[in-house]
């Protein structure tokens, strides 16, 4: 690839904010769902907070995306068109005025955002009614959790697949961005839930420590996916691609990448976890680790997207 030939979409940072919040929402939702299915009573607080975090974090998504459009009044065109499916791309499906393009991650992601928003609302409504003394229907919550969980995983991963399906040199040779973004969604979703849980003081037994254990595991997956992303990019052989990778790891984004994304976002939280600091000390320490994970999770997405668009 010749970097001089290509153009960038020049997506502003508010798209990164959406990618971050969407991933966090998906992660928190999936964690809440798993906790709910395994032991509803013991993880009551994780389920409550997780579903609330998921709902509140996804609300700004459609707004941020719509504001960024060249013609915001046409945001519904993401889902609706009136054209034969064979004219608009590979395996496109049209049903009435709606269309689904499986090879356009932005189109599939718009559907996932719609689906997730609906189920995140239902789950949040369910815990809200329960908080108000109402009875929650066990089966209904499980079904909402499972379907919403599928959309949540999709929402966390699709921005990475979306970037991978551009001609940008940093992304076209990479294959691990979807996996990386999914892991970031899991770690930041866990961290956001843990942050609220540690400050609210409503934890029971070992629920918080189990949540932090999962978050540490997600961070390890995140680290592995990040390493594999860099490996596939650096071995793809083109000079243009190598240039764009060096822009990320050694150029203007080098310091935020290593210091922010790797050290603050992954290494320090993991070190604190393995040193056992969290279990033995005050909730304030858990909150600090959670904040580090959240900050690092945003920075890693931000620098990858910024470096990919700049070169």
């Amino acid at each position: 690839m010749e970097p001089g030939l290509l153009k960038s979409a020049d997506w502003p940072a508010l798209i990164d904010v959406y990618f971050f919040l969407g991933g966090m929402a998906g992660g928190a939702f999936v964690i809440a769902t798993v906790a709910n299915l395994l032991d509803r009573e013991r993880y009551r607080e994780i389920v409550r907070i997780g579903y609330y975090v998921a709902f509140l974090a996804v609300i700004p998504g459609p707004v941020l995306l719509t504001v960024d459009l060249g013609l915001p009044t046409r945001f519904l065109h993401m889902l609706m068109v009136a054209k034969p499916s064979d004219a608009i791309g590979m395996d496109a499906i049209t049903i009435g005025p709606f269309h689904l393009k499986p090879f356009s991650p932005m189109n599939a992601g718009a559907w996932a955002l719609l689906g997730f928003s609906l189920f995140a609302f239902l789950a949040a409504l369910d815990v809200f009614l329960e908080d108000r003394g109402g009875r929650s229907m066990r089966t209904l919550r499980a079904v909402v959790g499972l379907i919403g969980g599928f959309f949540g995983l999709f929402l966390a991963a699709y921005p990475g697949v979306l970037l991978g399906a551009t001609a940008r040199p940093l992304f076209i040779g990479a294959h691990w961005l979807g996996a990386l973004f999914l892991a970031i969604g899991a770690s930041t979703g866990g961290a956001a839930t843990a942050f609220v849980l540690s400050l609210s003081g409503g934890q029971r037994g070992d629920a918080l420590s189990r949540l932090m254990r999962f978050t540490a595991f997600a961070l390890i997956v995140q680290l592995a996916a990040l390493a594999l992303f860099m490996l596939t990019v650096s071995t793809s052989g083109s000079a243009g691609i190598a240039r764009s990778l060096s822009h990320l790891v050694a150029g203007p984004y080098g310091v935020p990448f290593w210091l922010g994304a790797v050290v603050i976002g992954i290494v320090v939280p993991l070190a604190l976890q393995f040193a056992g600091v969290i279990r033995k000390t005050a909730p304030a320490m858990t909150a600090l680790v959670a904040v580090l994970i959240l900050v690092g999770g945003f920075i890693v997405k931000y620098v990858i997207i910024a470096a990919g668009q700049a070169t």
Binding site: M1, L5, V30, H77, F103, W176, V221
Partner: protein, 258 residues
């Protein structure tokens, strides 16, 4: 689908007069732009929302950095048989016409700009005035009235030829053979092969050397080819993370171990 229409640009005939660029601007009523200094006669660096045609100028240098040869090439949207912009478009605004060309419906585009970053040739440009993406249409209005694109009509040397793809391919191959007998050993076609990269380009080129001399990718790749592998890896990552959650939250209460 009607017979595929195509454009064949023979760089060996290009004299860099930029009549095509001017004709394109006039017919499509594209507003004037501030000139850009690029170091050559080329203006602008890239395709813009107001320049759908772009005559590129290149200086080929030898090992010692001495100028070996000048190259001129009138560049345009390739109307790829497998088009990155069309596949990326979430709205369906980008569509394939009955002639095999790729157009952007300005009434549907919502300005997400995904196509801009998905084009392997950097063709699609975002128009900040209209809020939509734009590019060459092969003069869609003209070709539906049998006129042929403005650029091809204006070209004084017939470097730009327009017609049915199968007929142009025959002309192009003949021209390569002719140039080879004249001593242009490296003459080749770029994008003519429908079994090749991106399913062939409906605007294909005769080049006098390697594509990289002209700033073109040697092997352009359809970005959406990554979607299946990336999705499978994402599913793998989801399974691992899901398994981790099951292990972390399963089992009796007590002291959790890190």
């Amino acid at each position: 689908m009607a017979r595929t229409l195509a454009m064949f640009t023979d760089v060996s005939l290009c004299i860099g007069c930029r009549a095509c660029q001017v004709a394109c601007k006039q017919w499509n009523q594209l507003a004037p732009e501030e000139p850009e200094w690029t170091g050559t006669y080329q203006n602008h660096h890239h395709f813009t929302d107001k320049s759908y045609r772009l005559v590129r100028f290149f200086e080929e240098t030898d090992d010692k950095g001495q100028i070996k040869q000048w190259h001129m090439m009138s560049d345009v949207c390739k109307h790829c048989a497998q088009a990155g912009c069309l596949e990326a478009c979430p709205t369906g605004a980008i569509y394939r016409t009955e002639y095999g060309t790729v157009n952007i419906n300005q009434d549907i585009c919502n300005g997400c700009r995904y196509c801009v970053s998905a084009c392997p040739f950097g063709v699609v440009a975002f128009n900040h005035d209209t809020g939509t993406a734009t590019k060459c249409t092969f003069c869609n209005d003209r070709i539906h009235n049998g006129l042929g694109p403005a650029c091809a009509k204006a070209c004084p040397t017939q470097s730009i030829k327009f017609g049915f793809r199968d007929e142009l391919a025959v002309v192009a191959k003949k021209r390569v053979d002719e140039l080879k007998t004249l001593g242009y050993k490296d003459a080749r076609l770029y994008g003519e092969d429908t079994a090749g990269d991106l399913g062939g380009l409906n605007a294909f080129f005769l080049l006098l050397g390697k594509p990289s001399i002209y700033g073109l990718p040697e092997k352009p790749k359809l970005p959406q080819k990554n979607v299946v592998v990336d999705s499978l890896l994402s599913i793998g990552s989801a399974l691992i993370v899901g398994l981790g959650a099951l292990v972390a939250f399963r089992g009796r209460g007590g002291q959790g171990d890190a």
